[in-house]
């Protein structure tokens, strides 16, 4: 089975590094990193060009999305993403929230979007957890 491609949107370099590291460990090699919601959205909007560049790996099957980011945070991204979905074929994209907070309200709010499939808490999710989440998707 082909491993899914992943887009990581997180403003912290170390978090992106560690996530990539974990993803590679479970066999995901197609990884694109963006450091805030705006650039993440831009990447998705640039549909035709990216499709040519990445082929079947675009659009990404999984977007791992940080909640707390400068400029455009995770929740604003979710809103913009749902708007973008109406214009472009992004049905394949499923989102995994990746939050530094264990606030249950945040989880409830994120899970209201049907394309949000999971809610991981930074520092508490092991490589194994990640594998399970991605495997389920």
């Amino acid at each position: 089975m082909q491993q899914p491609s992943v887009l990581i949107i997180d403003d912290s370099e170390i978090e992106r590094y560690m996530l990539s590291h974990q993803l590679k460990k479970i066999g995901v090699s197609e990884i694109v990193q963006k450091n805030d919601g705006t650039s993440g959205l831009e990447f998705l909007s640039n549909y035709t060009q990216n499709q040519q560049q990445y082929g079947a790996n675009f659009p990404p099957a999984i977007i791992i999305l940080d909640v707390n980011m400068p400029i455009m945070g995770g929740f604003e991204f979710l809103q913009k993403f749902s708007e973008l979905k109406a214009q472009l074929n992004l049905d394949i994209c499923q989102i995994l929230m990746y939050s530094g907070s264990d606030d249950p309200q945040e989880k409830v709010r994120a899970m209201q979007y049907e394309f949000v499939k999971g809610f991981l808490i930074k520092g508490e999710s092991s490589t194994e957890d990640l594998k399970i989440e991605i495997g389920v998707l």
Binding site: S12, E15, M18, H21, G100, S101, K122, G123
Partner: protein
Amino acid sequence: MPFHEELRTQTLEKYHLTDDGINELFDDIVNFATEGCDKPFAMISFIDADKSWVASQVGRFPSEIERKKGFSTLTINQINSVEISDTLLDNRTKESECVVKAPNIRYYAGVPLVNSDKQTFGALCVFDTKPNNLDKQQKSILKLLAKDVVSQLEIHRKDHELSKLKNLYQLISENNPDLIFAKDSDFKIQHANSAFLSLFPEEARNKVIGYTTLEEFDDDEAEAFLAQDKLAFEQGKTVTTEKIAFPNGEIRTLFTTKTRFEDSEGKAYILGVARDVTEREDLIQRLEKSNSDLDEFAYIASHDLKAPLNAIKRLASWIEEDAAEVLQGESLEHFGMIKNRIDRMNMLLKDLLDYSRVGKNDGIPQTLNLRESANHCVQLLDLPEGFVIEVDDTDLVLPKLPLELVLTNLMSNAIKHHDKQSGLIKIKCKLLKNNYHLTVTDDGPGIAPALHEKIFMKFQTLKPRDEVEGSGLGLAMVEKALTNYSGSISIESDIGKGATFIVIWPKSEISNQ
């Protein structure tokens, strides 16, 4: 005796008979007495414990007649009128000074002045220098005039009391730091005390009473006053806290009560009492701001410190895994130490975060069973075998989260610091009139009294971190939670005697929500 000396003295004081101008009050009456009774002399005299004196007279008498020899004492010692047709034939008077010497009085008639307490305190008398009498009509006139004297005195006394009250009221009103004013139904100011007037520039102060003064304020402020005034007239009372720019340039925050009242003619007014709460409101606002800043800081600091710490932890564990074969001896120990410190810091950050959250989203008071609440906390505590917890089966009305925070921390301390393999923790609750009196008692090693104060301080632990894990925030958190409800915590303990923590928690009402 129809009179009592002390009472009479009080009577005279009561009527303020020593006031200037009091005699003029009675001149018309004595004049009329001479005419109506057709006698050449008349006088009104008063008497107190020491002396009698003349308040008003027609004809010449010594201005102060010594009491014992005084003529009017004849009447003053009576409750009824006295008439002596010929003073030389009467034993009571034949040797009196004014009979044997000038003006050689031969006739006397007196009516006592009797107040509502039936005390005689003076007399209205007429005299003649020849033997005489009063006919029936003249007697009536004299009695009527005596009554008039008493009425005049009553009015005089009431005037006195009124002006005394008025002076006192004025003193209070002028010295009151609150702004006091009264407006009529046309919203014109009818009364204002100095505190109120001082908010107008000096040259405008004579245009306050009798004016609405609304033109002195900004339009929207004036409108707001009018709306409040109208509401007070309609509803009888309004209470507002408002920020107002006054004509003298000051901006003050006032807590104002406007109350409708009616005068004796049924005309409606509003009484305004405004307290200057500028400083208080300002302080409250600044305090709220600095409190929320502090909480926010604690939250952000602990939150932002957590992320890099977690990264360090993860990276360290990866190195440990990857280098499992190479790491040996000291290096392995060092890795253990790193991980241990990371865990400790994580706990500290978690407690800091919890501490900053104490008091937020506490929820409303609800009926809780103490035993059930304690059991719920125990489940999260990892109670070691050998430990028993006994809890009173009492219902309390308290917010759930803070109660569990208090119970969890106190029980966890009792277990954590226990020096034996087994122990007993007792949680009791007494219902006092206004408070819950909760105690958590353990049979652990106890705490020396010298350290009792220290244990409630932030980051204080009584044992080295390596022996007992703890951030030192537990009791500080308990105290913070209780302070939010005006409660308190104290300790009774000594070395070897266990410890009892006493929580006083004011009772709360079940909220309707």
